[in-house]
């Protein structure tokens, strides 16, 4: 019984961090139709900034705010000064499909190199702001700590805020419109370019938060979030790249599947499990679980 509860709780925790990464990827996809592999690099970079701020100010939460803000700024800068020139130059030919993806891969490499150069490659730690000792339930300690709870709450709040933004505000409407029909959006007076940059900024902020929530349970080093990127991407694809809800649901499904498989079957099954889930989903529904090719739900 204890094992089951432990598995459920750790699944919630890992799933919620994947959810942040997959949300960031979906945000960029929806606004620019680009899979941003540099997301991992951006997230780590902003986490390093958060780390520096935390060390100097002594407060984790100020570090989180710093990471979110710098994440947004960096995301916006990347879109404005990097992605836009690329889109301008590459207008024709099949390279259109590949070039942006490849460009983000290159960007990832550069960001990680810069991080290694500035901060070195040794592992750093960010201490958690609340206890990481498990809660006491009925006399025994479970694998869920105040820190895990904090992560879960933070992610839920962020998701709610993002959903509100998308569903209930004009900016959200503009974001959705520009992704699907840029020409029509422009005709309606929406500044498509600016809106796209906003999408990247939001994604960058989500990545920064993800990093700050993830690192206290692990280490901080240039490649710290590579695995998260992979899982975030898989989660986004499972959920169908078109919906934020799908991103979160996909992340939870992935988190649960992996954690249960490793708890109950074998600890070596982490990656194969992810692949199996992905293939199963895509065989049944090539667009991901929550996508609908015909219309758009949100």
């Amino acid at each position: 019984m204890l094992k089951f509860i432990t598995a459920v709780l750790t699944s919630l925790t890992t799933g919620s961090i994947y959810a942040l990464m997959s949300t960031a990827l979906v945000l960029v996809w929806r606004s620019t139709r680009v899979i941003n592999f540099a997301q991992a690099g951006q997230a780590v970079f902003t986490t390093y900034i958060g780390y520096e701020v935390t060390i100097r100010s002594g407060s984790y939460w100020i570090g989180v705010v710093a990471a979110i803000i710098s994440g947004a700024l960096i995301g916006a800068v990347i879109d404005r000064f990097f992605m836009r020139p690329i889109f301008k130059r590459i207008k024709s030919g099949p390279i259109v499909m590949i070039a942006p993806v490849v460009a983000t891969l290159g960007l990832l490499g550069i960001i990680q190199a810069i991080i290694g150069f500035i901060w070195g490659l040794t592992y750093q730690s960010i201490p958690a702001p609340v206890s990481t000792d498990g809660f006491q339930v009925f006399g025994s300690t479970i694998a869920f700590s105040p820190f895990n709870l904090m992560v879960l709450i933070s992610v839920t709040i962020s998701m709610l805020l993002l959903t509100l933004l998308f569903q209930k505000t004009n900016i959200g409407l503009a974001l959705r419109a520009s992704a699907y029909s840029p020409e029509i959006a422009k005709l309606s007076g929406i500044k498509v370019d600016a809106i796209r940059t906003l999408g990247w900024a939001l994604a960058g902020a989500a990545g920064g938060l993800a990093g700050m929530l993830f690192v206290p349970s692990s280490y901080l080093y240039p490649n710290a979030m590579d695995v998260l990127l992979v899982f975030g991407f898989i989660a986004a694809v499972i959920g169908g790249l078109d919906s934020l809800f799908g991103a979160v649901a996909g992340a939870m499904i992935l988190g649960f599947a992996i954690n249960f498989a490793t708890s109950y079957i074998s600890s070596k099954l982490v990656f194969p499990m992810a692949f199996i889930i992905l293939i199963l989903v895509l065989l049944i529904k090539p667009g991901g679980i929550f996508s609908s090719r015909k219309g758009r739900k949100d």
């Binding site: 432990t6 300690t141 694998a143 700590s145 692990s218």
Partner: protein, 429 residues
């Protein structure tokens, strides 16, 4: 467009031809003024956290010797390449050390999976490259037919497991024993040793290197906590994983549920504390060593190495890892001296075989080099860690045991080590 393919082919071929170097002389890496040694070891990555200090420690000792006349007037230069504890990278880096850096010999190569792959890939046997004092306890490296130019220094994991079996059966009779080990030759060597030591294991968990996360460690410990009594948990992994398991136990409040025994690879108290393990957790944990404790400044070797570290390795705190690195460096210098002024690879190998067992070192167990044995240390003593990270003999008295990597018995040892050469500078020949 055909032109492009011709152009690209010509460029590639030209690049290769124009950049080639003239052929090397007989034994590379030795000149009248310099001896070039190489090491492929993890500097970065999770293993780099634990063992990154080794090359710096070796270099510090070599710098000290260089400042005091070198080896027959030749200065020792150490080329260090980072292999991130990955077998593939170790293979290419070691090949680079031989082909590109033209080192005379390798010293202190680290890691079982990494070095066994690197040894074959870099053709060390065919090229007769001395592979000194490999930094791993894999008993296979003592196999002369497979690794003719390699010399181990650390006692093998099989030896450690056998001596540990005897220790556990004597001190913790009646308690269940659980083993958590790395899933490669290192861990399996240990498993075999426990078998040879006739220790019954209630639970064996093998995890692939770098795949044990916090969540999985917690699941594992939760499962083990169901075993009645006070089970003995043996940790046969690298320090970063040992730290992870300890921290998972802290988080689940399971530290006092088990008796912890940390294997030599992952049991360095200072590194564990630096990785965030609480002092209260390691207090009372059992660990094995074949050196004096790095904090024991009454030991002649330790205090000499501490002085060298202070001067030539500034900013690095002295611990068991640094002690080990300097010790290997000291053995290397004695080996180079014993090979004589006319330094050749064959000469170096023969020198260790003939004279190595008499080399001065900090080890409290004997060195077993001979014409038929490339095995270094072969024993351990057991101690308990306290909250300060010091290792004190278990039960108060130092009890050293020696054995082999096969089915030989575990015997009490009466070995006394050679005295420290004056100022730590060997003068042997």
């Amino acid at each position: 467009m055909k032109r492009y393919s011709i152009v690209s082919a010509v460029v590639a071929a030209g690049a290769m031809v124009l950049s080639t170097l003239p052929a090397q002389a007989a034994d590379p890496g030795v000149t009248a003024t310099e001896i070039k040694l190489g090491v492929s070891t993890p500097l970065t990555g999770s293993a780099g956290l634990a063992y990154g200090k080794v090359p710096g420690a070796m270099k510090a000792y070599f710098d000290y010797i260089n400042a005091n006349g070198g080896v027959y007037g030749r200065k020792i230069k150490l080329v260090v390449r980072d292999d991130k504890y990955l077998p593939t990278l170790a293979a290419t880096q070691t090949t680079n050390l031989i082909l590109k850096d033209n080192v005379f010999a390798l010293v202190g190569a680290l890691g079982t999976a990494t070095h066994s792959k690197a040894y074959t890939a870099a053709s060390l046997a065919a090229k007769n490259v001395p592979d000194l004092f490999v930094n791993t306890g894999f008993s296979g490296f003592g196999n002369i037919s497979k690794y003719p130019t390699a010399f181990t220094v650390l006692p093998s994991y099989a030896m450690e497991a056998k001596i540990m079996s005897k220790f556990i059966k004597e001190k913790f009779a009646g308690q269940a024993v659980a083993l958590i080990a790395q899933d490669d030759e290192f861990g399996v060597d240990g498993v075999n040793g426990f078998k040879a030591g006739a220790l019954a294991l209630a639970n064996t968990t093998l995890y692939p290197q770098s795949s044990l996360t916090d969540a999985r460690a917690k699941a594992l410990l939760t499962g083990l906590s169901a075993i009645p009594g006070k089970p003995v948990v043996v940790l046969f992994g690298t320090t970063d994983v040992t730290a992870l398991i300890f921290k998972a136990a802290e988080s689940l409040n399971l530290v006092s549920k088990f008796t912890w025994i940390a294997g030599s690879v992952g049991g360095d108290a200072n590194t564990l504390l630096a990785l965030g393990v609480k002092p209260t957790t390691i207090d009372g944990a059992v660990a094995a060593s074949f050196f004096p404790d790095a904090k024991d400044s009454t030991d002649a070797y330790v205090s000499q190495f501490m002085k060298i570290n202070e001067k030539y390795n500034k900013g690095v705190s002295f611990d068991n890892i640094v002690l080990q690195g300097m010790n290997s460096a000291m053995l290397t210098v004695q080996a180079l001296r014993a090979a004589g002024k006319n330094l050749t690879r064959t000469g170096l190998i023969e020198a260790i075989q003939n004279k190595g067992s008499k080399f001065a070192s900090a080890g409290l167990v004997p060195l077993n080099y001979s014409a038929t044995s490339h095995v270094g240390y072969n024993g351990y003593w057991f101690g308990q860690l306290n909250a300060k990270g010091e290792l004190k003999p278990y039960g108060g008295t130092l009890a050293i045991f020696t054995t082999d990597s096969a089915a030989g018995a575990v015997e009490a040892s009466t070995y006394t080590r050679p005295a420290l050469p004056k100022n730590g500078i060997p003068t042997n020949s």
